[in-house]
Subunit: 429 residues, 2 copies
């Protein structure tokens, strides 16, 4: 069987399973999810064994300690997967919500109702627990999943999926076994082939580094929902509460620098730069944050604290403003008012999460309206862009796209909709 | 300047214009639209002259009479464009609607608010009036438009766009002149180049024949919203009101056969086939509808009306069931119940518009739920899938996609959304 035939079979089975999935009741889906959670717990020993094979192979291949840590399945992570499955079972069913309802003058009743999307391909890197998380969210929203994890996690991913399917089938005889499938090959070409099958695959969600996501977006013929990176900004306006601004800047940069909603660039209005920059630079220095600054900022810092910051402050290059450091590094730039701040964000940012700190409502509104990002904040940290923080209950990813979901994606964002028209013989005249 | 440079400039200007557009108030947008309407009316003579050049070139190229008719701009069509612009001005602004609102336990107020999409490329065929229709809907929803009409309509399209822009600029000094642009070349490669510029272009909407749309979808790196064709079905259930079913079938097939929401295949439950088929075949024969039938249907028709239909009835091929005739031709197939009808629709259909005629609510619900189409009807004609009929006020197209808009697309479907978070110093802990 050629790779194309293999992928076509996989995708065709997923589409058929998605039709069966769409017929399951909420209660049936929840029972399956609870059974999956129990199955994962009961199968912990076998899961750790399969994972040990991956870990051993990874060590032989020379994977870094950080990668091996991400790859590892221990009791805590297995319990986390089971807990995640139970949490998804407890969430409301996102399918069948009425988004709009209208009765036309001819009496035709129209309803816009959420539906599953169909077949979703999830592409991800090391962490095997994503297998359970992603598959359960797709399953609850009535979608069939095709999972393509990192090749280093193949044994773990396969057994997680098998465990979930076995548990569901024992609970529900008509559970469609192809609702959750792991791509059965590590062939590089499997992804472009799979993502060319527009008749079967409805959506691809890649999760991982920018390189992976760009490669997927480049080759895909099916819609891709994604974010490449998080180059997030905090703009401290001339009318900011500077105490609040300091706390927000520290939180956005330092609370967890490695995540996509952490701040990468601080923009400061020139009217308060001489007051604010020395203070915040001191606090950032305490946290060992390196600064990449514009000439104005350097001048201010040199004058106010000539020796304190020299080691960790250098001039920012244009490229720095595009960079997601994911680390204790921060660009700092002085701007001439909110308009220049907005222009900077729209030019250099990644349309992810950006915040203004100000007491001036008009400028806040301007920033919120004109910054073209998935999430915009007024007097709050950028770090809130997250499914859990938004009250979605669970998150399958974050989108900076404008077609389909934007911002954090929970169960609701894994649905499409259809129009249902109910009549009593209406004809078009 | 290379084609790539030319397209990049065009797209970059559109993106810049989209930022300015997003700042216009509803009143400013409406004043521009009304001025555009007046401008189109006042410039009628010049528009007809420009169109005459296109018509002459088209005649020289040997365009068919039907194509020349679509290309023609006469007083009626010019008045229609102006009326359309005024209608769009009268519609509510789709930007800034609050789709969701929540206050988190930490006091952070979250609002999900509609926004423009950004830059939309519209690709279409002959009719120059699409230039005004599409540009006005995109403009009202705050989107910059890049228009690529048929090359045979280049003079007409250019002057329509120029007329609109001139009128808007006279009314509003800060109208962004690149909000509406016509691709200034007929080079075939312009489309793939333009649709590779994901940093500037947010969406492409191709309108036209299946070949054009497939070519666009194949080459595009930006999201495409589209429908390839309309292979729509009416399923007459065993418990149908057969009088109602006859009227719906006739309406869905004959009221306007050339449009995408017209029926192409009639499915009839076997329990009423012997009663229903002779009656409906007689009425379809009066309308000169040719039938492509399955063996069961042929047998029934041969027995009940051996001579009446022979000339216009032949056996359907498998390919016929995938075909959009856009004409007085209809496939007819007898099926064994609603399940088989649903399977037929999901297999052969184009996910556009499908209807069940029945008095049985359970079977109707099953059909409405399980038919995976943009619009599904119970006891109504498929012909209602239309922005105007849905009360959207205007329609820019119909989507059979599942990511982004599905079904008829009006102003609301030309928006994206963002999340706005308003706090008083909230930090993530």
């Amino acid at each position: 069987m050629t790779l194309t035939e293999q992928m076509t079979d996989l995708a065709r089975r997923a589409k058929a399973a998605s039709r069966e999935l769409a017929r399951l009741t909420t209660d049936e889906k929840n029972r399956c999810l609870l059974a999956m959670a129990e199955g994962i717990e009961k199968n912990a020993a076998a899961l750790k064994e399969a994972n040990a094979l991956d870990m051993q192979a990874g060590a032989n291949l020379g994977l870094s300690a950080a990668m091996l840590d991400r790859l590892k399945l221990d009791d805590k992570r297995i319990a986390g997967m089971a807990r995640g499955l139970r949490e998804v079972a407890a969430l409301p069913d996102p399918v069948g919500r009425v988004l709009d309802e209208r009765v036309r003058p001819n009496g035709l009743k129209l309803r816009k109702v959420t539906t599953p999307i169909g077949v979703i391909v999830i592409i991800y890197e090391s962490r095997p627990n994503v297998t359970a998380d992603a598959a359960s969210l797709c399953f609850k929203s009535g979608n069939a999943t095709i999972l393509r994890g990192g090749k280093e996690a193949m044994n773990s991913n396969r057994l997680i999926a098998e465990t979930m399917i076995d548990a569901a089938r024992k609970t529900l005889a008509h559970f469609p076994e192809h609702a959750i499938q792991v791509v059965p090959t590590t062939h590089r070409e499997a992804i472009p082939v799979l993502l060319s099958l527009t008749q079967y695959v409805d959506l691809c969600m890649p999760r991982g580094g920018e390189g992976l996501i760009r490669a997927v977006a480049e080759c895909s013929k099916v819609p891709v929902i994604k974010h490449y990176k998080g180059v997030c900004h905090v703009y401290v306006d001339g009318d900011a509460d500077l105490g609040m601004a300091e706390e927000i800047v520290l939180n956005a940069k330092c609370q967890r620098p490695a995540v996509c909603n952490a701040m990468e660039t601080l923009l400061v209005d020139k009217s308060i730069a001489a007051r604010f920059l020395p203070a915040i630079a001191g606090r950032l220095a305490e946290k060992k944050v390196e600064l990449r600054v514009d000439p104005t900022t350097r001048e201010i810092l040199t004058q106010t604290a000539p020796n304190a910051h020299s080691a960790s402050v250098r001039l920012a290059t244009d490229q720095d403003y595009y960079t997601e450091y994911n680390d204790y590094v921060l660009n700092v730039r002085v701007v001439d008012g909110v308009k220049e701040a907005i222009d900077h964000v729209n030019h250099y940012g990644s349309a992810h999460s950006d915040s203004i700190v100000t007491k001036d409502e008009a400028r806040a509104r301007q920033f919120l309206n004109e910054v073209d990002s998935a999430a915009v904040y007024w007097n709050a940290s950028t770090r809130f862009t997250d499914g859990g923080e938004f009250g979605m209950g669970a998150e399958i990813g974050i989108s900076t796209d404008k077609i389909g979901a934007r911002g954090p994606m929970g169960l609701d964002e894994l649905t499409s909709y259809k129009w249902i028209g109910i009549g009593n013989g209406q004809l078009r005249t």
